[in-house]
Every structure is written in C-alpha cells, then in structure tokens.
Amino acid sequence: MPEPTTDVIQGTLDMLILKTLSLAPMHGYGIGRRIEQISRGVFKVNPGSLLTALHRLERAGWLDAQWRHTENSRRAKFYSLTRAGRRQLELETESWQRRVTAVTRLLKAEG
C-alpha cells in the first residue's frame, strides 16, 4: 500500500532539487519524477512550483541550464549543479540536519 502523498515540505524544494541534480543533470520533468520516486511517492511535486524554483535557482547561479536534443527531435532544458550550487546544497543539508535533530529531540522528550 503506497504511503499517502503530500506536498513537498515548505522551504525544502530547493534543497531537494539541488540534491537530485547533484547525482546527474536532468530536465524539469525528470527532477519532479525523481523526487517523487526517491521519496517513494511521499512527496508530490507541483510542476508550477518546480519550474519556478528551477528558474530562481538558475538566476541565483546555483544551476546551469543547457538545451539538449532528445530522442524525438524535441529540445529539453537540462539543469546541472554549479560549484556554488554544490556549496549551497551542503549548507542547506547541514541546516536541515540541525533542524531535524532538534525537532526529533523535542518530539522524543518526556516528562
């Protein structure tokens, strides 16, 4: 039985995109699918938010975009991580871990 889906946690979409792209360059649709797959369908990516985020990250200089021809002679825009994007991913991961640890500790606290 699949787990119930939910929107991506507010503020984490950027991090998830950066993480996904740290593995391989990919186009927008692929990124969305990959996030859904890896999260085992827990996260459902809203395409509007995704495309918006991609462009924002590109403008911030964390992503590089490149048009590539695909199998059926269409063009697709492939995104890849820049050096700055990699550093940003590290920062965000670190900060995320900190927050997760803190939240977990709070939830486990007794008495």
Binding site: Y29, G30, G48, L51, T52, A76
Partner: protein
Amino acid sequence: MTHRSAVREELDEEVRDYFERARADLIREGMTAHEAARVARHTLGDASRAREDLRSYGWENALEATLGDLRLAGRRLRQSPGFASIGILTLALGIGASTAILSAVVPILFAPLPYPHAERVVMLSDHNIDGGRMDVTFGTYEELAARSRSFGALAVADRWRPALGGLGEPERLIGDRVSAGYFRVLGIAPRLGRNFEAADDTYRGPRVAIVSEGLAKRRFGSARAVLDQPIVLDGNEYVVIGIMPAGFENALSPQAEVWTPLQYRAHAPFDSGEWGHHLRMIGRLAPGESVQRAEREILNIAGAPSADFPRPQWALFENGLRVESLQRSVTSAVRPALLAILAAVLLLLAIACANVTNLLLARGVARRSELAVRAALGAGRGRLARQLLTESLLLALLGGVAGLGIAALGIDAIVALAPAGLPRLDAVRLDVPVFLFAVAITASVGLAVGLVPALSGTREDLRLDLQSGTRALGGRHHRLRRLLVVTEVALALVLLTGAGLLLRSMERLLETASGFDATDALTMQIVTTGRRYDSDDAALRYFESVLGAVRNVPGVTDAALTSQLPLSGDFDAYGVVFESAPQTTPDDPSVLRYTVTPGWFRTMQIPLLRGRLLDARDRPGSAESVLISESFAQRWFGEQDPIGQRVRFGPEIGRTGGPWDTIVGVVGDVKQASLALEPPAAFYVAMGQWTWVDVVQSLTVRAHGDPAALVPSIKHAIWSVDPSPPIVRVATMGDLIAASEAQRRFALTVFGVFAVAALVLAALGLYGVIAGSVAERTREIGLRAALGASPLRILALVLRQGMTLTGVGVALGLAGAAVATRGLATLLFGVTAVDPLTYAGVMALLFGVCILACSVPAWRAARVDPTIALRSE
C-alpha cells in the same frame, strides 16, 4: 525585444516538454491517450502560472509584461470599437469640458489678483438707493484720503479714451485718469521710468503719462524708444514717464494701456465736475485692518462732518461706503453666470463619471467568463487586476488626450465667446492641475468601479461563472447600473431645464421692446481730438458739418448724433432737482442724460408722447429745453402734467443763480443698460444747450437696405470734414442689442452645449443598460416568444423597462431642477424658475430621446428567434 521573446519561447518550450513527458508517462502507466492529455493539462494549469510568475521576475520582465499588457489592452479596445469609442468620447467630454470651464472660471472668480497682498486691495463704492453700487465723487475721496486711517493708500480712477495722434492712423486708446497713488494701491510700480508723484497730480499740472509695455511695443517699437519721449494724446503732447511691466493686469479696466494723472482741483465748487459720482475708488488696507473695520470707520467719518470738507447734498455718504475686495468687485457682474456655468460643468462631469462607470461595469460583467477562463488557466488575481487596470488606464489615457484637445478648443471658444465685460480674461489659460484633476476624477471613479466585478468574486465564483456563462451573475451590478442610469437621466434633466429656462429667457428678452427701432440702423462713434475742438463752438460746428456730410451720402435716409447710445455699454447719469422743491434732491439722483441733435427721435423712431420734440429753436444761448422719458414723468410727476415744469441737472444743481431748464415734451422709454432692466428715467437736451459739448459722439444712421454696406462711404464723409478723429465702435443697432445680452447668451450657449452632451451621455447609458439586459435575457425572451408572446408585446416589455428607469430619473431630476434652477434666478428674464412650459418641453425631449435609445434593443428583442431558448442550453 527579440531577446525577451526568445526567453518566452524557451519557457513555452520547457512547459511543452514537461507536458509531453508527463503525458507519455501517464500513457505508459496505462491511461488512454485522451485521459493522459487531460490529466497532464490539469497539472499544467499550475505550470502556466509558473510561466506568469517567471515572467514577472526582474524589472525588464516587469517592463515587458507592462508593454504586453498595453498591447493586449490596445487589441481588446480595437476588438470592441463601440465600447472604446463611447468610453473615449465620454471621458474626453467630461475631462475637456470641465478643464475648459474650470480653467476659465477659477482664475476669474477665485484666483487672487496678481498684486502683492492682493487680499488687501479693496474697492470702495457709494450706496445707490436700491442697494446697488455707485461711483464716488472726488470730494468724498479727498475727505477720506485726509481723514481715514484704515488705508495705507487710496486712489481714484476715471475712464479716459484719448485719441493717439502723431504717426499713423488715429487710434482711440483705452486708459484711465488716476490720482497719484493709483499704482501704489495696486502695489505695482512701472518697470521703467518712474511712478506718478503728488506733484504730477495737481490742477493744470504737467502733461505726463505712463503706458503699458504692450502699447509701447505696438506703437513705438520698444519701451526704451518711448520712455521720456512726448506722445500726442487728444492733440496734446504728453511725456511718457514710465512703462508698466508686461504682465501688469489693470483689474479696473483690463484693456487700459495708458494712464495720466487726474489733476482735479482740491476743494472744487459744488457745481464743478469734481463733484459728480463718476470715480472708481480703490484702496489698500493698512496692515491689520479689515474690510469691516474700514467700513465702520468710514461710517463714523460720514457721521462727523468736518468744516474742512463741506459736502453737497448728493455726496453725504450718510450710509458710509461699501468696501469689498477688488477681486470680488470686478467679478460681481459676471459671478452669477460663471457660478451657474461652473455648476453646469460639474453636473456634466458627474454624468460623464456615471457613464464611464456604467460602461466599465457592463464590460466587467461581460468579461467575467473570460476572466474566469484565464483564472482557471492559472492567471493570478493580481495579474488579472493588472491587465484590467492597464486596459482602463489606456482608455483613460486616450480619453485624456482627446479631452485635452477639447479643453484647448473649449478655452479658445470661451475667450472668443466671452462677453466683452468678462474681467481677467488674460488670466485664462489651460490649467494643467485642473486638467489632471479632471482626468483623475473621471478615470479613477470608472477604473475603481470597473475593477470590482472582476475581482469581487472568489476563485470559486469564477469557476461557477465559467460554467454558467454570464447569465447567473451580477444582480448587484445590475442594480448599480440602473442606479447610475437613473442618476444620469436626472442630472441631464437638471441641465436641460437650465438650458431651457435660459433659452426661454433669451426669447422673452428679444421680444421686449427696446423703445427704438433697431432695423437698418447703423452706428459708429466719432472721437474728436485735440485743441481744435477745445471750444464748444468749434466742436458744435464740426459735428453739424459731419451730420450734413453724412446725410448727403446716397442711401442714408436719416442721421443724428447722441452723447450716449442705448444698449452700447455707455452710462452717463446725473442728479436732478425741481424748481418746485429746490432744496431736496430726489432719492435716486441718477437720471440718464442724452445730449442729442434734434433728428435723434426721428432716426431712432422714439415716439413723442406729449408736448414737442427738440428743434432748431433749441440753440446755444436760448432758454434751455429738455425732454423727459415716460418713466421720468411717471416717477416724479404722476398724474401731473410735466410740460412747463422747470428742472436742473447735474452740474447745474450747485449753481445758485441762473436760469432753470423747461420741460417741453415727454418721449417714450428707451432701454439703456440692458433689455432686461426696467427703463431708467432719462432726459434729453439739445447738443448746444448742455453745459459742455461732448467730445465723443455716437452717430446713428438709418438707411435703405443693408446699412453695413454704407460704412466706407459714411466714414469717408466724416473724414471729409476732418481726417483726424478716430471712428470706432462701428456696428448695427442689432449687433449692439445682441452684444448687450452677451453674458446671458454666453451662459445660454454653454448650458446648451452641456445639456446636449448630457442628453447624449444619458441616452448612451440607458442604451447600454437596456441592450445589456436584452442580451442577457435572450433565452427568457425566446421562451416568451415560444410561449406565444407577440413581438409587439416583447417590444413593449423592453420599452417599459427603459421607460421605468427614465421615469424614475425624470422624477428625481424634476426635484433636483426645482432646487438647482433657483441658482439661475438672476439670469432669467420673463420666466420663473418653475416655468411649466420649459419643464414640459424638457421632459418631452428627454423621454423622446430615451425612447429612441431603448427602441434599438427593444427591436432586437422583438426579433429574437423562439428556438434560441431551446438551443443555447
């Protein structure tokens, strides 16, 4: 822009790529191609919002989006030319008319005069018996100048119309003879040269003049060329001692170009000209003084006569003097007309606002389904609002530009049409803040309201709209639109009533008897100049020769001269005493004086009622005979026979010995100041028998056929006697009568134009509402037709709807008109503000136009195909 559009294409391509991949995946997962496309497109709804969001990044995107909005807005307006043209026209009318009128009226009525501390500059006038204003005597001025402490400076001015001689054609100038402090009261000094000093303003003092920059440039090339040089005025040399600055506005007589010292005698005897009520007095209040305090002080001075300043009976100023701001004083005559016009334009502006609002409301409602579609496709509310705003702003911009054109034309028209007496006309120019105000008010009201329907609904509502078309919506907006139309009709009725009353007044006025026959009568003014006519004998001989020469012009049947011409703006009145009661001056001393040649009554066709006319017996030296007007006889003699009674007028009154004048006849009344006023008492004396011979005479000629054709030969005849006197004010008596009612005519023209505009706007508004309602009720009407309603009944159904709105508007408008037209009272003549005929006519007109406006949509409704009811569900 190519870069921009490339970016957009890439964006579109990316979205398309996303869509294709999603669809392909869905098919792979087992969906049918059709289903897959649907689901993919559903997710894409969000993607296209992303596209919008992406585009709004950065300023270049914002600019691009704005330009895109503008292009889209332009396209939309072009797609609905009816909406666009009516909208632009309405805006242009509202903005143009109100800008023009406000630009003209505000400076005239409200802007301070261009003097330092203009609020302290006041006009002082004596009280007439009927509460009117009366000019003051020199003696009163002398006394107040010496005794009053309320004023920093006081001055008096007398009209002066010298003929400029020397080089070129003789020209009659407009000017003032002023006491030395005149320019100090106004607070403006000559730009070049010097001001008048007390030494200039002494009896038989030096002949000096100050001229305007305009006159210096026009006649002498430049200010420097004429400064300290002599110029010839009325045959005498005057030294130009000063040049007024170019922008100097002489509020007392705006056209004045030359000033000279008054040079009156101090403490003149009572029978001298100094004691006539003929001077306009102005003053500059001392710092800290007020109009009320000044009036009180003058009243105190009046109550405490001083032996140093003896006063004759007619200059006791026992009720004090009226002190009022110069601004108010110079505009008092035109104030009622201008205020009425101001009110009219505000009504028109309100109608224009209502119409624009109505239009945009209708359009907003009609576009809700379009907006719903776009919202469903992911356009944000802000984005839609911006698009609508852009459209409305574009409309306002186009309307504003057209309005600016109308305003410019309107201001030119106002200046051209303005009655000659309209003060401060020089200050009238297109007022940019006023224009912006008009644009802002007309546009913003419409814009704000136009946005409401688009934004009022939640997204959920919009989705409903999408399903239902426009049918189910807008009950609230319909009520608002009906309310607006009712308001428009009501306001239009008020304007129409005003115009109707003015029109009826004008008709009545032109029907009233002037007391003379104006047909085929031509008139012109001869201004004798120079020392040649200093002696009365010479002047008399000259005028008699002129009369002889004019009578010999072929085509001329009759000719006569008069010192003042009816309905020409001339005003020359004197006090009277009767031999039967020599010590008492009658209450109202002003009796109009006409010094005429004996043929005057025949030429003007003024009837003799009693006694005899003036004739060859009434020569200088012989006993003085006078004719009196009918109202004179009624007022002071009643049933008594005035013939043989003896009187003295004006300058003769102060005389102790000497003969009295004998009344030899009574003639019909003649209107002098205006057709609308009761004819004032008047007396007539033969030219040679008055105390002096007037240097300015009006020639009146009666001729066969068109008198205007005779102008050149008559002028030639006059100049054959002496080529030097300027001939001015050449006009037919008919022209003069028309001009004498110029202010009324001006108000009538403006009201007429506005009323027609209001009628058209209201009709358009009504048409819009009814047409919209018919369009929305098409199915219902089809159903009725299918159930057997005849086209006639449907026609009646729609017409009734329109007439109900009109009826409510008319009812409200009648109430409004009854109140508002009271403000017109001073402009009306011969009709009351509740004239039933006017109201009936105006209502008939309004209903007629409204029926016309409704009949087009009603006709359309009557032809609705019954099957439409079945088809469109």
